[in-house]
Symmetry: C2
Subunit: 294 residues, 2 copies
């Protein structure tokens, strides 16, 4: 198994701009192979410059689509659904410009807590229509992706972040309905820790649909500071034959003062180079050790 | 260790009304010692009738305060804070009427996702004032509780449900500032699974402040259907000398169709008596087995 290990750019700064490109060399020095980037909105970033900066640092990239209430494949409003579709087409263009192979994220839309929405009942009729809208759009987008040699890796999120796809089982069901080799899954252990019966069973269930993986602690701290059993997770990935990309997203800060909002994005409080290095080293060592068991 | 095992009423119906009192006998038959009830709002429930129904079934009760945006000890608006304080005084009255010893819940207020609020930055000044407001109110309420022989058991919630107290460490810090023997903590493994480095370490850290416990799977399904390591949790409770109440809150339904909102309250889809019984039997057996190790 030759998994590439990456880190998400917004771990460091959000928005991540040209002024933060010197971080690329530091991540490379910490052992990372790639960076996962939020898809910049039009005009937000000089894409050729970004590509050159990544090349210069010896890193490649994976990109994550940012859906919201104004662009969502599963919105009640047809105009919002169209914007969701157009946005994902735009993401494919960004991928081509950056030379990126994988577009991840909750591509289906329907955000909750970060969109300021409380969980609410969904009628059976609406639920079915949402599925139809989503499958239809993702099928067409999958065909567009295939033409460009790109892959769409749909990510289930926990119950507070979306009401559409929360589990690996739901993700596999959606991907099976879309039924395009260019459309598969991103799995993130942070969300899985909340929603799955068993992380390793779920990885096995995803099997060949797994296109991208995000290795995160239960509390989103650095790997090894929480209770996810990484040896078991790495073995499950190996057993599933997964040799793809693995991104780390350690957003949690060691700042647990009362009343500090944990779900609010916060930038690092100190130079985290030592933690970047240790987390990358740890997961890579476990992958190597799992390989040595063959 | 002689822990009483209970189940939360809204597992079955929400709102839980007089018409659902026949459920008490079924829970007693499934092995439960008590029911945890959401504090009924004024006029919502005939409290003496409720008390009699519980007595008739051979159950006691724990109650949970329901804070919201209109009644919160940590709200920016002083009138809302006053309503939060008055509401908790009312909860003490309800406890007296019902003959209940423990009032649990996120007594500090500041709800997020279920109040339709996205996580947002909190200024350092406001953060400090919230702490002052909260400590001052809880100290006074703790004195009121002590006069009536009642205990306030403050529950940390996960990052999506509040931005005020998410971890056991924060909870212990808050309780230490309040510094009243009548004010302690409720710990819930569902929230802990998301926020703690280690569930057992956190239980040990809470130590003598632990007044009430909620044993929930990572996904809120029935105990034994998720990945919480119950043997370790029970041992940690035993090591902390905890002989108090343990409530089960299995809200998750085995209905994982795409687009079904998991965080939205849903009533059982079938008669769950077998699952009520198995979960209660399992946790009680582990407690007994842990006791047999002495």
């Amino acid at each position: 198994m030759k998994n590439a290990i990456g880190i998400i750019s917004m771990q460091y700064r959000r928005p991540f701009g040209v002024e933060h490109f010197d971080q690329f060399a530091r991540w490379k020095a910490a052992g990372y192979d790639f960076v996962e980037l939020l898809v910049p909105d039009p005009g937000e970033m000089d894409l050729p410059l970004l590509r050159r900066a990544l090349d210069d640092a010896g890193l490649f990239a994976v990109i994550t689509a940012r859906v919201n209430r104004e662009r969502s494949l599963t919105a009640d409003d047809g105009a919002v659904r169209q914007k969701g579709y157009d946005y994902l087409l735009y993401c494919l263009d960004v991928a081509k410009t950056l030379g990126v192979a994988i577009i991840g994220g909750p591509l289906y839309g329907s955000p909750l807590v970060f969109a300021g929405l409380a969980p609410h009942p969904v009628s059976e009729d609406l639920r079915q229509r949402r599925i139809d809208w989503c499958v239809s759009s993702l099928t067409s987008l999958g065909d567009e992706a295939a033409k460009a040699g790109l892959r769409l890796a749909i990510e289930p999120l926990n119950r507070y972040e979306t009401d559409f796809v929360n589990t690996v089982r739901q993700g596999v069901e959606l991907v099976a309905m879309v039924d395009r080799p260019s459309v598969g899954l991103t799995l993130d252990t942070f969300h899985m820790n909340m929603e799955e019966d068993d992380l390793c069973e779920a990885i096995g269930f995803a099997g060949r649909h797994l296109m991208h993986f995000q290795a995160n602690e239960n509390h989103r701290g650095y790997l090894g500071t929480g209770h996810v059993h990484w040896t078991s997770v790495v073995r499950a990935l190996g057993a599933a034959g997964y040799d793809g990309t693995i991104t780390l997203e350690p957003f949690r800060r060691r700042d647990d003062r009362i009343g500090v909002p944990f779900a609010q994005w916060r930038q690092p409080l100190h130079d985290e180079q030592a933690e970047y290095t240790a987390s990358c080293t740890m997961i890579r060592a476990l992958i190597d050790l799992n390989g040595s068991r063959k």
